[in-house]
């Protein structure tokens, strides 16, 4: 148990502290990320917030050369692309995140199944530095 509440914004407060949180249904045992007040599997409200191990594996990815406004502000463009993907956590659920330390010149060589570990990346948004979820090779 940790002291995070079930509301959405706590996910980002935890991220600033370097923690990856979600929820576990105490009735059916399923994990969710981000945390849910109502279990999407069995509709139970008997839920607790959990801290994930941060270990996972890559299940899908892309290397983006045409970024949206905020990623462009963070310095990404066609000459400086970035990798984003979907990570399956060791505990089961999946989450979208930036994937660091990949060979961006050879996207075809990035391997689905790569073991990853959670980290954060600081990006500036509207003049404020914020921590964003990222993963890197384990």
């Amino acid at each position: 148990m940790n002291d995070y509440a079930l509301v959405n914004k706590e996910f980002f407060r935890a991220l600033e502290a370097g923690e990856l949180i979600g929820s576990k249904c105490l009735d059916c045992g399923e994990f969710s990320i981000p945390q849910r007040e109502i279990c999407p599997f069995c509709h139970s409200t008997n839920i607790e917030v959990v801290t994930f191990s941060g270990k996972g594996k890559l299940v899908a990815y892309t290397v983006i050369s045409v970024p949206p406004v905020k990623m462009a502000q963070a310095g990404y463009d066609s000459k400086n692309p970035y990798c984003v993907g979907i990570v399956e956590l060791a505990e089961g659920p999946r989450i979208s995140a930036q994937i660091l330390e990949m060979d961006l010149a050879h996207p075809e060589a990035i391997a689905i199944g790569t073991e990853l570990v959670m980290t954060t990346i600081q990006r500036e948004e509207d003049g404020v530095q914020k921590a964003y979820l990222a993963f890197k090779p384990a």
Partner: protein, 421 residues
């Protein structure tokens, strides 16, 4: 056997569209009027607008694209239809297909007999990064977009899952683009009324004109494989894997089945319809297919009492080339993992066993997002009535299907139409 629970049947008695493209000199109202005039021109019996009882508009985000919300009553007024009920329907890029379904349900309920459905989006007034941002609001803006995802990125991620799961050849995606541009080249409403070969030859000619060395591409496939001709957007989706940013409007007139012949000598009938929803991409058990599309398709087939092999042609949501391949499997035209081979073998071409996107699809015809689902119905209406000109399918097709997806698959709506002799 049909298993329709609708109280009465619904027919499409007219359809029309503006040209799709980039029109800096036109506003959305101009495009809407253009579509209405095209619908009137296409109808074989003159339409009395006073007979229209309700209006449904498929529109994703005029708020963001034009800083204009509450668009349905404005457009109804612009056509002189006030004070009829005017409703805007928003389900991202599926807004048009959902508007068709909502209008049909309103007729099936008995509330209205005659309903106009419009689809509209005016996207090109914003810069490309702003368009990307606006489209991104159709995804989960708390947990997906901050990770760095874009819409090409979502479909690219699904493409990597598909390539990995089935050992598919990435060139299959290019074959979808080549095929859809070949169809679009025969559609005078298409944004790209050009084959990829023609686009390649234009680029070569421009290079020579500017005194640069002529690129050495010999075939359209070579051109697509060269990042200098076809740059990366979100690997493995390249520029020519993506549908364009577009302006456009499309329209269909729906009436109750018993009134159909009063409005047209050649109505087509909406005999199957289904719709399903889903969570964001990471919440799904599979990333190599779109579960909501499979569910919506099954509902529509069951209502119509048909199977995938009964479908003579389909307009599917090819916002990105991989999406067409997944759709061809989600709709049951090909087994799982076989769609990419079918695309490479020409099975989805106009002369193939399952013709897909004879209009050019979103890829070549253009993708003004709220209009796309209604634009699909325009093509089915033309093909079933033998009005598709040079791209007309032979052998008098009888059954057509539309498949319209919102977001990365959070919404999918499938409608099936039938011509009766």
């Amino acid at each position: 056997m049909s298993k329709s629970k609708w109280s009465r049947g619904v027919a499409v008695v007219g359809a029309g569209m503006s040209r799709f493209g980039a029109f800096p000199d036109k506003t959305s109202r101009d495009l809407f009027v253009e579509a209405f005039k095209d619908l009137n021109k296409n109808m074989d019996k003159a339409l009395d607008p006073k007979k229209i009882e309700a209006f449904y508009l498929g529109n994703f985000s005029s708020d963001q694209f034009e800083k204009q919300a509450h668009l349905a009553p404005i457009l109804a007024s612009w056509l002189g239809l006030s004070p009829i009920s005017a409703v805007r329907v928003e389900d991202a890029c599926a807004s048009g297909g959902v508007a068709i379904r909502q209008a049909a349900l309103a007729i099936a309920s008995g509330e209205y007999d005659v309903v106009l459905v419009g689809g509209l989006e005016k996207m090109t007034d914003l810069r490309i990064s702003e368009v990307t941002e606006a489209l991104g609001t159709a995804a989960d803006t708390q947990f997906e977009i901050p990770a760095g995802f874009t819409f090409p990125g979502f479909y690219a991620a699904m493409a990597t899952a598909y390539l990995h799961e089935y050992g598919a050849d990435r060139n299959a995606f290019f074959d979808v683009a080549i095929k859809n541009h070949k169809n679009g080249a025969l559609n005078d409403k298409a944004q790209f009324e050009q084959t990829i070969e023609q686009i390649m030859e234009d680029k070569k000619a421009r290079a020579v004109q500017k005194g640069r060395p002529e690129p050495t591409w010999k075939t359209d496939l070579e051109f697509l494989q060269d990042p200098k001709g076809n740059p990366n957007v979100a690997w493995p989706m390249t520029l020519f894997d993506c549908s364009p940013v577009s302006d456009g409007a499309a329209m269909a007139l729906l009436v109750s089945e018993d009134l159909a012949k009063q409005f047209s000598h050649h109505p087509i009938y909406l005999i199957g319809s289904g719709q399903a929803s889903d969570g964001a991409l990471p919440e799904r058990a599979t990333l190599s297919s779109i579960p909501a599309a499979e569910k919506a398709g099954k509902q529509a087939y069951e209502m119509a009492g048909l199977t995938p092999d009964d479908i003579d042609l389909a307009e599917v949501h090819d916002c990105f080339t991989v999406a067409e391949i997944m759709a061809s499997e989600d709709l049951g035209f090909f087994p799982r993992g076989e769609g990419w081979k079918a695309a490479m073998e020409g099975k989805t071409a106009r002369d193939g066993e399952h013709p897909i996107n004879t209009s050019g699809g979103l890829k070549a015809k253009g993708h003004p997002v709220g209009a796309s689902g209604v634009g699909q119905v325009v093509e089915i209406w033309k093909q079933l009535n033998g009005l598709a000109g040079e791209r007309q399918l032979p052998n008098a097709p009888k059954i057509g299907l539309t498949h319209n997806v919102g977001g990365s698959g959070q919404t999918c709506v499938v409608n099936i139409f039938e011509r009766r002799d």
